[in-house]
Symmetry: C2
Subunit: 239 residues, 2 copies
């Protein structure tokens, strides 16, 4: 399993991904599920992956190898909008599943999915989800976050507290609390967390933090949230 | 879908169930998923249901009709322990699925599951889950709650805040917060909520409340939790 979360904000984007990859419970490893895409200069676009690791790696490697090739519909460096970028990711995903799917089927599922978020020159930041079918949906102000993988445990806190007006700092906090809820219930989601905070119009891919299990901020956040929640529940009216 | 939650406490039990039943999104109705079982006098045992409504109703009706029949392994009124009660529920469930399953298969799934919680004379309160296979598991002090149906959205708050030492009042609050989280994300879980608080050694089946969507306590709880959570998140350290 996997948990990836993308949040679209007026002030930018927050993207977060876990690092667990497993083929059965007896074969567990760590992978980085967040990467930057080779879009045109002056753009900043990240991709997060879930599903079959061979498929997701093949898609990302192919996207990199095709960048600059000039191949219509497959060259990320020629894309002008994030909608185009998402379409290219979907097209490459379709091609990989089309090629590998029937060979993989006896052993498992070749399906995969992606979140693609970032900002292209001349656009506001945008956030897309690419399904295994290669079709895409976009986050909007009414539903400003998208999730991959184990989506349910971490959703209630987002539904309650997150809007597109939330600040980047608050959204990063909420993202980590959403991951904490997920990590507590699903062992197939694992640390470290890669967390990207993107400020609108910065066109920067600098602010990526890898949060390890003993990260002091992560530990302080979990502890403060746990204690605060206990106190809050105590204060709530009794039936 | 359904959401049912059973909580085992030192001081008793809290059981809660939603009321939505649907066959597709275009056929939605309300059902009561919590009922008392016809166990021997001086015992108090409730059952909560999920899955195919024809199956769950057939199981509960059959349990009622067999009570007092003297049929070995099927007569709830002769059961001495809650483990025996759970076994009888499992046996009747197997018989119903065995009889109906292949006829239902072309249209859907005849499977169902139950939570059975209560206190038999001479025992402490106990809580069991009956799977569609008819086998059963029991809640323990390390894992003091069991869930049916849409289990994930409502789990994080329980994992964080609930132990077997929690008071009945606090556990009822947590149960309702767990339902609130679930109701916000899954429209196939619906109000009203039936909420049973059982005090150890009371052998009473009196304290069942039906919480409607405009229930003043329910509304006050949700509002206070929402506001408190917002304030708590504000107070948490920033990355």
């Amino acid at each position: 399993m996997t948990y990836c979360l993308g949040i679209l904000l007026r002030g930018g984007l927050v993207l977060a991904s876990d690092s667990r990859s497993n083929a059965g419970v007896d074969q567990v490893t760590q992978v980085r599920k967040l990467a930057f895409l080779p879009t045109a200069a002056g753009c900043a676009v990240a991709i997060m992956s879930s599903g079959n690791l061979a498929t997701t790696q093949a898609v990302v490697s192919t996207l990199r190898e095709m960048a600059g090739s000039g191949q219509p519909g497959l060259d990320l460096s020629a894309a002008k909008t994030l909608f185009e970028v998402a379409g290219i990711v979907g097209a490459v995903l379709r091609a990989v599943i089309d090629r590998d799917g029937r060979f993989v089927a006896p052993y498992g599922d070749a399906a995969a999915g992606f979140l693609v978020g970032g900002q292209m020159a001349g656009e506001a930041p945008r956030l897309f989800q690419i399904y295994a079918a290669g079709n895409v949906i976009e986050a909007t102000d009414r539903a400003p976050f998208l999730q991959l993988g184990e989506t349910k445990y971490g959703k209630p806190i987002l539904v309650r507290a997150l809007t597109i007006e939330t600040s980047l700092e608050e959204a990063a906090k909420l993202a980590l609390l959403s991951f904490d809820a997920t990590l507590r219930s699903n062992v197939s989601v694992g640390m470290p967390i890669d967390l990207l905070s993107y400020v609108t119009d910065s066109f920067s891919s600098e602010d990526v933090k890898t949060i390890e299990v003993h990260d002091p901020y992560w530990m302080a956040l979990r502890e403060a949230y746990g204690a605060g929640l206990e106190e809050l529940i105590d204060r709530l009216p009794t039936p």
